[in-house]
Symmetry: C2
Subunit: 161 residues, 2 copies
């Protein structure tokens, strides 16, 4: 499939999605191999709460980099699993403060060694002649500085001259 060599925009994005989906599925299976019932998608919330203890919905959303509706649906799942609980903020009644349950904290302790293995393996997969994580960082930074669209429009106008 050399579509990418010929034009790219779509190809790169679908390949990135594939790669990520594969990693996600394998991640779930790997947890299972430890007898742990944990979905990779829950990780960012759990991990954030592990370090920050108590946060509101929007604060979590910002931490994990998702929109708040997406975050809410994750929180619902985690609440169903009894890994987190929430209570109203007494100072600001609009806020729902989220924190880990005891069960959630215990689970984290169980998962820590699993995360270590995952981290190593992921590092190994990403570490090649061209390091994937660094490549992503570098590409993200370039786009942050000037978006794909801005760059394309600029090149277009230069060519017209």
């Amino acid at each position: 499939m050399n579509i990418i060599d010929e034009s790219g925009i779509l190809a790169i994005s679908t390949r990135l999605q594939r790669l990520s989906e594969q990693l996600r599925k394998d991640g779930a299976l790997f947890y299972k191999s430890y007898g742990i019932d944990f979905e990779p998608k829950w990780f960012p919330v759990i991990y954030t709460l592990h370090h920050k203890e108590v946060l509101s919905v929007v604060e979590i959303a910002n931490e994990i980099g998702y929109t708040h509706p997406s975050t809410i649906s994750l929180l619902k799942e985690l609440e169903k699993q009894k890994l987190i609980r929430s209570k109203k903020d007494k100072i600001d009644e609009r806020k729902r403060l989220i924190q880990l349950t005891a069960k959630g904290q215990e689970l984290i302790e169980q998962m820590k060694p699993v995360w270590d293995v995952m981290k190593k393996v992921l590092g190994d997969i990403a570490d090649n002649q061209n390091n994937l994580l660094q490549a992503i960082n570098e590409a993200e930074n370039k786009i942050l500085h000037q978006s794909f669209l801005q760059r394309a429009l600029q090149l277009k106008s230069e060519e017209i001259k």
Copy 2:
């Protein structure tokens, strides 16, 4: 957001998805700047048919690397846009043969210069100290050779020893 440094599995996949979504949206806007009404997601099908001329549904799915149901829905959109048309294969009545319409072919000619610009910009964004495309290739190859799960399970069993 240093989640990735601490554990990774989810973080890498969501970041990849973000990056790809951004590129996709900007791609659509860039087409629009040329007055072309074309969605980046249509590209693989159109591009494939540009080179192969006539293909069945499943053949296209294989070429673009999507499942056939996904491909069918793309084909429906493209048929609605009158960019492709289809006819039954007279030899194998199960098959639907797809090809570009005249309108589709004209559109491709209009898009070619746009693709050139996109290719350059994408190349520029991806080409850093660590080349993103090559990094993706290398990571994909590693996984192809031995999956994330296999690697993780192996490391796990080594550590138990």
